[in-house]
């Protein structure tokens, strides 16, 4: 790591099965981008990558290997030459891989053939800074660190344009009503599902706090209970928070429901000022969409490119 960047963390698919001792999931904010980048290297979908939030990082290769980058609108350059995302590149010792800064879409994924080789902690390499768990030492990556990876001479690949994720600054997030939604009156639910919210500057890996019309709940707090990924909590100030990968696992604010995970990868790319609307869907529809998404991801084929 020649330059650590704004926030660079190692992430694999996430940490599961440890909520019992209070550990959250971690994992990629944009799981679609990470899956596609790993696909370019024939890695498993959840192979350990660098998640760069906002960019600004620079790496120097210590070995001859193949890497791929994609996600957000973070520019990539290798040895000072600008390169396109969503394809793999050969690098050799001394090569400089640099990520510029994001303009609007802030999460990029840099993967190497075979994934970064760090020891899992609680069955996962995902970094959760708040918990001091995962990554190289339970923290974001720092300048000067060495990230172990494998040598590789595998063929280079690229994705078809039609398979690339489309990001937008005006998104719709589908929501499955649930939890305490009965404590939000019909009027408040209509307000929630018909208004436009803005991403505030308090939006991070724990949660995306949105600003917009005040959404009132009949109750101010509840007995603390488990919070799932994508739950939408509405504290007393009436401004919803979509809870992301690094959320606390237990909390006492009322929740109106939970977002569809498939829309969170677009939400998690957004920076302050982008807008979000919510659309109600039921659980059956959500399950259909998850199955369709899996099927469509499975059909994504990379193309080989000449060296």
């Amino acid at each position: 790591m020649r330059q650590a960047g704004v926030l660079s963390q190692l992430q694999d698919a996430g940490r599961f099965g440890h909520h019992g001792i209070g550990l959250t999931n971690g994992g990629p904010i944009d799981a679609v981008a990470m899956t596609l980048v790993n696909r370019l290297l024939d890695n498993p979908a959840g192979a350990c990558c660098i998640e760069s939030s906002f960019g600004g990082l620079e790496l120097e290769a210590n070995t001859s290997t193949v890497l791929a980058f994609g996600g957000g609108d973070i520019p990539l350059s290798i040895n000072g030459v600008e390169q396109s995302p969503w394809r793999s590149y050969r690098v050799h010792p001394g090569d400089r891989i640099k990520l510029g800064f994001a303009q609007q879409f802030c999460r990029g994924y840099l993967a190497v053939a075979g994934g970064f080789q760090v020891e899992p902690e609680f069955d996962s390499q995902s970094t959760v800074i708040r918990e001091c768990v995962g990554g190289t030492h339970g923290d974001k990556l720092g300048t000067g660190e060495i990230l172990p990876c494998l040598a590789s001479q595998q063929p280079l690949q690229q994705l078809r344009d039609s398979d690339l994720p489309r990001y937008s600054n005006e998104i719709v997030v589908r929501v499955i009503p649930g939890y305490q939604c009965a404590h939000f009156s019909k009027l408040e639910q209509r307000r929630f599902f018909s208004s436009t919210f803005e991403v505030s500057d308090r939006a991070d890996r724990m949660g995306y706090r949105l600003t917009g019309p005040t959404i009132r709940c009949d109750i101010e707090g509840i007995l603390s209970e488990g919070i799932c990924h994508a739950a939408i909590q509405v504290p007393a100030d009436g401004q919803p928070i979509v809870l992301m990968n690094d959320r606390q696992t237990i909390g006492g604010y009322p929740k109106i429901g939970s977002a569809l995970s498939l829309d969170l990868h677009r939400l998690g790319q957004l920076t302050p000022g982008a807008t979000v609307r919510f659309e109600k869907i039921d659980l059956q529809r959500a399950h259909n969409l998850l199955h369709l998404h899996r099927a469509s991801l499975a059909t994504v084929q990379t193309e080989f490119i000449d060296d």
């Binding site: 909520h19 649930g178 007995l223 603390s224 799932c228």
Partner: protein, 225 residues
């Protein structure tokens, strides 16, 4: 038992209301039964005071199968009423030095600091939930004479091992973190050890008793000031 949708891969089962050992025991019994009924389609569970959040793999199963498993488990809850888990004793160095809110809490309660300490350690608590941070165990129920609301302004930095009260809950902070609970002492027992097994001295359903120790014993047991 009331079952609500929580998310695309989550249901939440409510087994009663409020903080009570009986409800908590039902939550725990349900959490013990579900892995056997759901197998690999169960991803994780979050037990809390009166609810159990169940996370399942929506590509392997659906809410109807999970609801059916919950209903099946419900019929077996009565038989599995095991009550409480093991009793864990946690030493605490109570003092105004180690507990910066002890004096104010005593004044607000109209008690001496000695009385607050006595009341806090004479109650047997139950571990109702683990969350907020790794190893953070929510213990209840704090005697109403010393139950005190959270601070108006949370601290930026609560030390590791801080013993604290918020309303009818008490806890030991497992690591340095921000926090708004009232600090009354320090506990030298590590509450979360990633490198050791078990990672925590307590689990949900266990009972906890605090025992006052003096400054020298606290240091001897590895405590830091």
């Amino acid at each position: 038992m009331q079952i609500e949708v929580a998310g695309e891969n989550a249901l939440i089962a409510y087994l009663g209301e409020g903080q009570s050992p009986a409800v908590s025991a039902r939550v725990q019994a349900l959490a013990d039964l579900l892995p056997g009924l759901l197998g690999a389609s169960l991803i994780d569970q979050v037990p809390s005071y009166a609810s159990l959040l169940i996370l399942f793999d929506p590509l392997q199963t659906d809410q109807f199968a999970v609801r059916a498993a919950l209903r099946r488990a419900e019929t077996q809850l009565a038989d599995r009423h095991t009550g409480s888990g093991k009793l864990v004793e946690l030493p605490v160095y109570y003092s105004t030095e180690s507990g910066p809110d002890l004096k104010q809490l005593a004044t607000d309660a109209g008690l001496s600091t000695e009385a607050v300490i006595e009341i806090h350690q004479s109650t047997e608590y139950r571990v109702y939930a683990i969350g907020f941070a790794p190893g953070f165990a929510y213990l209840g129920e704090v005697d109403s004479r010393i139950a005190t609301p959270r601070l108006a302004t949370p601290r930026q930095r609560v030390p590791k091992g801080a013993v604290a009260i918020a309303d009818a809950q008490t806890a030991v902070y497992p690591a340095v973190s921000p926090g708004g609970w009232n600090l009354i002492g320090l506990c030298p027992t590590p509450m979360f050890q990633p490198e050791n097994k078990p990672h925590m001295p307590v689990q949900v359903g266990d009972r906890v008793r605090f025992k006052a120790i003096d400054r020298a014993t606290y240091i001897e047991l590895g405590g830091e000031l």
